[in-house]
Symmetry: C2
């Protein structure tokens, strides 16, 4: 690919290579150092390797600057470079690790290493506090392995698919939509030859609708544009649906199909009646589940954003379909998140607007208070854990994006280097899920509510089943059939009444067997009765959180570099999510310093703050840089003065300034800082400590 | 089964039937009540149903008394009755729910309902605090889906099996050992005919060794005793191994086999080098993981104790094989858990003994301090969460129970209605796991430690590879082969040196390809060198916790009934694990009471205590009984006096006594009680409140 001008893509490629070279050389230096200790290598070899590392670093530095000046702040290549730097910072400190690395890894699987794991714990605990405890939700924990019948009812067995094409020679698999998008993008970039403006417009039009194409249409488009398999250039098959669920077999016989759940929600739906009973039969209530879900992606990419196993946190709020107001709505009505309504998406500017949630409901932009309440709570939660609210928008689904049964859907989208990423889905799913399970399981999924104004007279349809007649025909199935007839919904009763009157064939279906019903078996009549309330299948409003995606976006939002030295990276995690709350540093590796450090660390641990001690031989500046890299908000240093007057210095990660306070105060002050005390107030109360050039 | 005498097994059967009848009638009453509200049933029907329920309850009561007087306190049937009562209490309040119940459930899968889920959260958080935070362990989180190669290396693909037989007619599957045990038990009970004392002795002998039989031996024994399939009485197949891992396929091609992990440990082992690096290259350190594991049991039974998906909490402590002392051992050396050593198991009394851990190590009963330290920490943990220490023993594995590589193994066994159940396994696994992954992955799994006393001179084997000669033969593989030769372990070097000298064939294996090596390619010589330290594959000491089993045993240990009314059950959970810390009761359903209750509940929630409000119309006594059932330790009641002087009553679950304190004090006093303040001290400080017969 010869290019006459400086091309930012080739620059980015150079940058990636330079970064890889630095990483490799760094590994080599470490290995050599170990070899010297073991007597397997000479000191001179290490020095030579370090010299080479320095040169590689300098070259990388140069390329980074060149790259930054060549590309605009928001260009996609700049984004990719930013992503590479964040990714390197995260992987180096084991926030995450590609899983099974010693065996060459498997795409779409990641481990959380120690700081990542601690941070994830903090975020799920924070979620639990913010949603489950504050709203008194009913938390459940259900298995990942799920029998086929559950996912047949939910529609996942039949419809949870992506369209796939295979390389007809190698059998390699690709996502059909991704291939088409890449091919169209290439055409727009003038490869293999520039397009006419008419052709360009057409390609643009197709590109805009790729996600809505049927398999047939996608196949035609792939054919039309002559798309071939990437890398091999071989022909590809027509697109066909590939089910994204991991399949397994339950029990030793091999005849019971199971899947790893693709979402945690189904475990809540199948327990609805139990949970309703637990809640004293009263609506509304919400149930929640935090747990692993699984999707066997065709070709995982996009790092932590599209993985095959991930943590979901889902809420199912069950309510009367006619009562979607929320008693606590006023507590969020004044919040002003960026809303990207259907209307704004269709407008010329295509820009989201900050809007009071109260106004959004009163103007009919958000369908109801409950959905808006959860949008507000989600907004507060994401801000609380460190998502930048300016890079967070709530995007309403367009009419053609929504399932037929959904009443309104909004996605919380967060901007990161991959673009705007769906991190939370908030949907009013009407009664779809409970109806589906009621139909499949033949179990009652209704709730009952008394009329708030007391009993009323109403015309109701009453089923009079002739037990003897049914018994004659259906023998021992008669009882079940009679019960099924008597528990028909008002709607079904009306239907059957009309059909019977019209002489049409009627039936009852039990365990997939149809039982014809005729007028000698049943009579359906309207009667005037006193009713105290009504039965209904509740509506479900579902906020569904992708925990890994939120964490990844938060990593990017909290990543920063020191103004004085761009190579010094740090994460300005909020104290609530920071994996470690404080690091204690003995200035010197002497027993007196180390013992003091241990006692201060024990003090902080007992105050509930996760604390580490860094007593390595590196300079204090280097050690500060190291805890900055994992985003520890505060550092406590034991210095010479500590041994004299029992005071320590406390350093603030974000400003890198320090104050001096007594050890007895540390235990109180640090928890205060965690709960929101400002650093400025610390600087007012305690003497500032000059860092004596430690930070360099 | 006609029986002339009162047989406790048939009594138990009656009891089960009576209990089922009560439950069923209770459901019917509830359904009828709902129907009356909806106008579908008459009040008279409800009254009749309630009357019937009362009769059934009275009959159940009678049977329970009869049963209790007929059977000794420790008989197995009594245990089963106890288990039935506990199970009923747990399921009624949704501590757990058989999964997918609306579809008829699937054996071996359970959901945790709201109180179970909260309690499990509390226990894993407590574990995290007790082990991970207090010991600065490195926590990781790895996927459940695991590629085959990892579990091939660990031995699970080849050896993680149970012996199975099938019914030759129906294909039903059974565990071979369970069938044999049941058949032998039957023989001992004199079915079909009494045995001679000689025959009895023989059956006893076989029974004692069932777990150690090979497939061949088990098959012979099944044949000898003419064992047939239960229920059908058909012939059974010979036993064959059935792998207990759930198998799946990763990616769309269908050619990459994956399994659901059977334990969380492997995720830690494959990351060993990364974790060592994270720990600054220093040993010892421990890594830990809490997560789901999966075993496709042949025939799950024993309720929550043998399930197909369960939570494990595993620790892998990596250390120098020559340095298994533990710096914090003294902190547990005085603890005296019941130890059931190999010797005691072989003794005539077969009874465990309380013993100081310090003595157990110094007498060589426990292999090393580190293993003993974790036994001590496990003992403290289990006590802390409510396991009765008198029903907890640490049983050492007999020599024939241990894997060949293990140095010493102890199981924490807890006594419950199923007998003594293994809840925690503590094993010194030597370097087995890391060696297995090093061999399979061809990656270095060693650690390096400097000699504490400084460098020393030593004879070492030095590999001199002739790069040119190797290059001539192996072309582009030469570099990798040279590296492999140079990084041979001392042991392998010695081996190759001897083989080369003896003219034997030598080789290097890379990615499953063998490369022959001869004397022209490599020379191995002994040289005297200055060594600063040594490389070695670390030993692993593994405490592995079955969280679900611990929880179930704890349920049984905390279950209790009121002396004054045996039907009033409660769980005396310790505050740290109780799913809810406090319930707030407005005495009356009036706005003034309810508002006060809400403000008190908010106060407690903000103090970090999970709190519920019970404002139902039931009497205060009934409501107290209801929170007792889910083990809420304290109740706060808003009564008439509250409205006058802002004092409330606080009730202690275990003693059912009450004190009166001001609302302003509640926020301080309840957290104190959670952290160990005694109720007696409350009674001394605050006026006792007479419950005015509320408890009746």
């Amino acid at each position: 690919m010869a290019s006459t001008s400086v091309d930012s893509q080739s620059l980015e490629h150079d940058l990636t290579l330079a970064q890889a070279a630095v990483t490799k050389q760094g590994d080599e230096v470490r290995a050599l150092k170990a070899s010297v200790k073991e007597g397997k290598a000479e000191k001179a070899q290490v020095d030579a390797a370090i010299e080479q590392l320095k040169q590689l670093k300098a070259s990388l530095d140069l390329k980074q600057k060149e790259f930054q000046s060549s590309s605009g702040k928001t260009s996609s290549t700049n984004r990719e470079a930013f992503r590479a730097v964040v990714g390197e910072a995260l992987q180096r400190r084991l926030f995450y690790i590609p899983s099974f690395q010693i065996y060459g890894s498997v795409a779409g699987f990641y481990d959380y290493g120690p700081p990542g794991c601690a941070l994830k714990q903090n975020i799920t605990q924070c979620w639990r506090q913010h949603f489950i405890l504050e709203e008194s939700m009913l938390e459940v924990e259900c298995p990942a392995v799920t029998p086929e019948v559950v996912l047949k009812a939910s529609g996942h067995v039949d419809r949870f698919t992506d369209l796939m094409v295979t390389d007809v020679v190698t059998g390699d698999c690709h996502r059909a939509d991704h291939l088409l998008e890449a091919a169209l993008q290439s055409l727009l970039e003038g490869k293999p030859k520039p397009l006419s403006s008419e052709e360009k417009q057409e390609v643009h039009n197709v590109l805009a609708t790729v996600e809505e194409l049927t398999g047939e249409q996608l196949g035609d488009a792939l054919q039309k544009y002559g798309v071939q398999a990437p890398e091999t250039g071989n022909d590809i098959s027509r697109p066909f649906p590939f089910n994204l669920m991991f399949r397994t077999s339950i029990g030793p016989r091999g005849d019971q199909v199971g899947y790893l759940r693709p979402e945690t929600a189904q475990g809540i739906f199948v327990n609805f009646k139990q949970l309703l009973y637990y809640n004293g039969g009263k609506l509304p209530f919400a149930a929640a589940q935090i747990g692993q879900s699984f999707r066997n992606e065709i070709a995982p990419r996009a790092g932590l954003l599209r993985v095959r196993e991930f943590t979901q946190a889902e809420i199912e709020h069950f309510c009367n379909p006619d009562a979607k107001d929320h008693p606590k709505f006023q507590s969020v009505a004044q919040e002003q998140p960026l809303l990207f309504s259907r209307e704004l998406q269709m407008s010329a500017e295509k820009l989201p607007q900050a809007m009071r949630l109260g106004d959004a409901v009163s103007q009919g932009i958000i369908a109801n208070q409950t959905l808006a309440y959860f949008i507000g709570r989600t907004y507060l939660f994401l801000k609380r854990i460190g998502i930048d609210p300016k890079r967070l928008r709530f995007r309403q689904h367009l009419a053609n994006e929504m399932a037929h049964y959904a009443e309104d859907c909004w996605d919380a989208e967060v901007e990161c280097s991959y673009g705007w990423i769906e991190c939370v889905g908030l949907a009013d799913r009407s009664a779809f899920d409970l109806r589906a399970h009621a139909a499949k399981s033949k179990q009652d999924m209704s709730a009952y509510e008394p009329f708030p104004e007391g009993p009323r007279m109403a015309d109701v349809l009453v089923v009079a089943a002739d037990k003897r007649e049914i018994g004659k025909t259906y023998k021992r199935d008669a009882k079940a059939i009679t019960e099924a007839l008597e528990s028909l919904s008002e709607e079904d009763k009306a239907c059957m009444q009309a059909d019977l009157a019209a002489g049409k064939a009627c039936k009852v279906t039990l365990a997939d067997i149809d039982y014809p019903i005729n007028t000698s078996m049943v009579q359906i009549k309207q009667e005037r009765k006193k009713l105290s309330g009504r039965s209904f299948i509740p509506s479900v409003i579902e906020p569904s959180f992708g925990v890994g995606r939120i964490i990844y976006c938060m990593f990017e939002h909290c990543f920063d570099t020191r103004k004085e030295d761009e190579k010094r990276t740090f994460f300005h995690f909020t104290p609530v999510v920071a994996p470690v709350k404080a690091t204690v540093f003995p200035l010197l590796q002497k027993p007196a310093f180390i013992e003091k450090a241990q006692s201060v660390a024990a003090l902080l641990t007992s105050a509930g703050l996760s604390t580490i001690i860094d007593s390595s031989a590196a300079s204090i500046g280097k050690r500060y840089a190291r805890t900055d890299e994992i985003g520890v908000p505060y550092a406590v240093t034991i210095d010479h003065q500590t041994l004299e007057d029992s005071t320590v210095t406390v350093r603030d990660r974000d400003s890198t300034t320090q104050v001096r306070i007594s050890i007895t105060n540390v235990k109180q002050v640090l928890p205060d800082l965690m709960e929101g005390r400002t650093w400025a107030s610390m600087q007012q109360e305690y003497p500032v400590h000059a860092s004596a050039g430690d930070e360099k």
